[in-house]
């Protein structure tokens, strides 16, 4: 390989949020003229590492080096001056400004203190030509499709003539043609000596484009090596594989023959043409990379977003529930992933939170029976071992106890179908264990549990079956016999074909 000095490097960096370590002693070195892949599962710490490299965050320990020199006060402006450009996943564009004004934003050429539109046109055009963006430069960005906006974002990074280009899943919204243009472009930039860090969940792209790979797993670096001699299955193995310990309860089939949910050709939000049948007494997992449409599937079943279906039977009735009260009446309950915004009313007492679904079912002007409420809530708190005074605000509880409140509040109505959206996200290990036991308990009691999770081991150890979602479709339905972390990750990243060949 070429020159020995990396343009940008992190040496032994660690970073934690609120006491939870996200990165532990991670090192990475970006060399000129090399495309470096950064791989890892959801929550492995990739975004945090990018934010450290681009100066958006400061490491708790360890150093960031530019051209071999440790920089003490790394910040976004500092990074820009050093020639580091980041193409983020959340777009940094302004819809009401034109393509040219967006590409040059923050670094406009000036003439007499005014924006020099002639120079801007020339420089922006050069950057747009590189990425194959041929729309008129005056087009407002708001009129472009998501994929084209992504190309504007890349052009914006190139406009500043970077030495280091960090691309965070640049192809997730690109068409095949756009991806090919980008691939060719990155080859060209690499030949010009630019250091490129490439984050992608598409392993075939990584294999084709990159020379070096760093793999993160649970915040630590499990591989830092040339890509030569590694295959896709090998990469997947590096990303998964944790010791499950005794976190999970024993798995016994409690599946019955009663159909809880059956839908044919369901389309809701990003999900399309989903056929799904779920029996009472089973736990069905929904897996895949974050944001492939899984949440829309749950919300569609729950009547919370508009959905279309060819035929459906849910909770013993034909058709989809048209709204949330209808879904509740049919015995469905939904526990959202974002418990702080959607699951709980943080500033209100735990008791009120526990009773909220009950309030929704009461006649609107019926007087409340506080004694009965208190008794119900105490029972729930006992059953779910929710600690603390029920009169306190829900925000006083730990994340794990908050999640238990969000789950417990549905129990007085004895739901027959539980739709759970990432119920263990940000929850401590002990509570995870409790929640896992509850989930299997629900199934044993004859409820159907749909478990959407970004945590792969959880899917493997709890579920009867796992549907893997990619780009709005269920690409694979893994039965208990075929369930493994490798199988789920491979299906989620579209590497299953290679596995079969291998």
């Amino acid at each position: 390989m070429a020159s020995p000095a990396p343009i940008l490097a992190a040496r032994g960096v660690s970073k934690g949020f609120f006491g939870n370590p996200v990165l532990r002693d991670v090192s990475i070195a970006l060399m000129p003229g090399r495309v470096h892949a950064l791989l890892g599962e959801n929550g492995a710490g990739k975004s945090t590492l990018i934010n450290l490299l681009s100066g958006a965050l400061r490491p708790d320990s360890g150093t960031i080096e530019i051209d071999g020199q440790a920089v003490s006060r790394h910040s976004p402006p500092e990074a820009r001056r050093a020639g580091i450009a980041v193409v983020q996943q959340e777009l940094s564009l302004t819809g009401s400004l034109s393509i040219a004004e967006n590409v040059g934003l923050g670094d406009y050429p000036r003439r007499f203190g005014l924006v020099d539109y002639a120079a801007l046109a020339a420089r922006a055009k050069a950057a747009c030509d590189l990425v194959g963006l041929h729309e008129p430069l005056a087009t407002p960005v708001g009129e472009l499709s998501l994929g084209r906006r992504q190309m504007v974002e890349i052009a914006k990074a190139l406009y500043r003539k970077p030495r280091v280009l960090i691309l965070d899943e640049p192809t997730s919204s690109l068409s095949a043609t756009e991806t090919r243009i980008l691939t060719t472009l990155l080859e060209k930039l690499r030949a010009e000596g630019i250091a490129i860090l490439y984050i992608s969940h598409r392993l075939d792209e990584v294999m084709q484009l990159c020379q070096h790979v760093t793999v993160l797993k649970d915040g630590t670096c499990t591989a830092d090596r040339p890509l030569e001699g590694v295959n896709a299955a090998g990469l997947v193995r590096l990303m998964v594989g944790r010791d499950p310990g005794d976190l999970f309860p024993r798995w016994d089939s409690t599946r019955t023959d009663r159909t809880a949910i059956a839908v044919a050709k369901l389309s809701a939000g990003a999900m399309q043409d989903v056929d799904l049948e779920i029996k009472a007494g089973e736990v069905v997992g929904i897996g895949g990379l974050v944001g492939q449409g899984q949440e829309d599937l749950l919300l569609g079943l729950y009547g919370a977003i508009p959905a279309k279906v060819v035929s459906a039977t849910i909770g013993g009735q034909a058709g989809l529930p048209g709204n949330v009260p209808q879904a509740n009446a049919r015995g469905l309950a939904y526990v959202p992933a974002d418990r702080k915004r959607e699951g709980l009313h943080l500033i209100h007492p735990i008791l009120t939170n526990l009773m909220l679904p009950a309030f929704a079912r009461m006649p609107a002007l019926k007087l409340r029976n506080r004694a009965a409420e208190r008794e119900t809530a105490m029972g729930l708190a006992l059953q779910f071992s929710i600690k603390g005074d029920l009169g306190r605000a829900a925000q006083a509880l730990s994340g794990g106890n908050q999640q238990k409140v969000a789950l417990a509040k549905w129990m007085p109505h004895d739901p027959t179908v539980l739709l759970l959206n990432d119920p263990t996200r940000g929850v401590d290990v002990e509570t995870k264990r409790e929640i896992y036991q509850m989930l299997r308990g629900f199934a044993a009691a004859g409820k159907a549990v749909v478990l959407l999770s970004s945590d792969t081991p959880e899917l493997v150890h709890l579920c009867d079956r796992v549907a893997v979602v990619r780009e709005g479709r269920i690409v694979t339905m893994l039965d208990r016999g075929g369930l493994s972390e490798e199988a789920i990750v491979a299906a989620a990243m579209g590497a299953e074909r290679e596995r079969q060949a291998a």
Partner: protein, 323 residues
């Protein structure tokens, strides 16, 4: 309307003009409505097309145009001001107490301008640096500023030089000429990197910050410019009435929001154009005049005004949903 004949920097303006043309697309239908009202008004009031009639009409529009711009700038940054009316009043009483005194017209105008810029910048600093909600800060500010206006001039009074009143509010279209100059200055400001940042800072502050845009500076500058426009409108109102009145500006706060909303400025920041806000203020002025000539009672005027504003906001929503 505000397609200024100002030449943007240097040669090679093709891109500049193409961008300007694109910005017209969203306000085309508004321009048509304004034109329709203008024709209607012309039918009702034949004097509109005489020199005096045009002068009088533009004078009735002028302060509303200024406060609509003042509000639109803030709404583009994602903020809003409830202190517009109080600032207009303050501008009016300062003008009416200084211009016939030892400071003279130039000195008085300078005081009016500095007070507007200063209060605006201070408001901006509080909103931006302390990260407080603009609606609360400007509501509190409106009480303080209104109090200050009453301190300067406890009851209507003061005086304006006759020649200034005759110039600005007489039979010449001087007010219209001033408005054209203000619009040209705005175009010039928007052609600077700081001015253009206003859109990015309003619509996507995080993205703008990451792109190296001075987001805070752009927003504080917007508040300062807004304050200047408000006290300037106050000066004009004082010239119109020939004296100062510490509560004369009150109605401008809500009318400025109405005009900006009619002009398609969004509440979320970064959405809309100044030409839209100006057209919105013109439409509001025309509406009031037309209804007056049609013999609407004041109560009916208010009701009609409210319905039209709700309609103006709702129609694009319905259109979007139909798509």
């Amino acid at each position: 309307m505000s397609n200024a004949s100002l030449s943007a920097p240097g040669r090679g303006n093709a891109l500049y003009w193409a961008i300007q043309a694109k910005r017209n697309i969203g306000v085309r239908s508004l321009f048509l409505v304004v034109l329709a009202f203008m024709v209607a008004y012309g039918f009702l009031f034949h004097g509109l097309f005489t020199g005096t009639g045009f002068a009088k009409f533009t004078q009735s529009w002028f302060p509303l145009a200024l406060v609509a711009m003042a509000q639109a700038i803030l709404m583009l940054t994602g903020g809003i001001s409830l202190a517009i009316g109080a600032l207009v009043s303050l501008g009016a009483v300062i003008a009416a107490t200084t211009m016939t005194g030892p400071l003279g017209v130039a000195g008085g105008a300078a005081v009016v301008g500095i007070v507007g810029l200063g209060i605006g910048a201070a408001t901006g600093l509080i909103v931006v640096k302390l990260r407080l909600p603009a609606i609360v800060v400007t509501l509190a500010g409106s009480f303080i500023i209104a109090g200050a206006a009453l301190l300067v001039l406890p009851r209507p009074g003061g005086a304006m030089p006759d020649w200034l009143s005759n110039l600005l509010a007489g039979n010449t279209p001087a007010a219209f000429a001033v408005l054209v100059v203000i619009v040209l200055l705005w175009k010039l400001y928007l052609a600077t990197p700081l001015g253009l940042s206003l859109y990015a800072a309003g619509e996507n502050p995080v993205g703008a910050y990451r792109s190296g845009v001075p987001v805070d500076a752009a927003r504080i500058a917007a508040y300062a410019i807004s304050g200047l426009l408000c006290t300037g409108a106050g000066l004009f109102v004082a010239a119109q009435t020939g004296s100062g009145d510490p509560i004369i500006g009150t109605s401008f706060t809500l009318n400025s929001i109405a005009a900006a909303v009619l002009g398609g400025i969004g509440f979320l920041g970064g959405q809309g154009t100044m030409r839209g806000a100006l057209a919105g203020s013109l439409l509001l002025s025309l509406m009031i005049s037309v209804m007056f000539f049609l013999g609407f009672t004041p109560v009916a005027q208010y009701v009609a005004q409210g319905l039209i504003i709700i309609g103006a906001v709702a129609i694009p929503q319905f259109r979007m949903r139909a798509r």
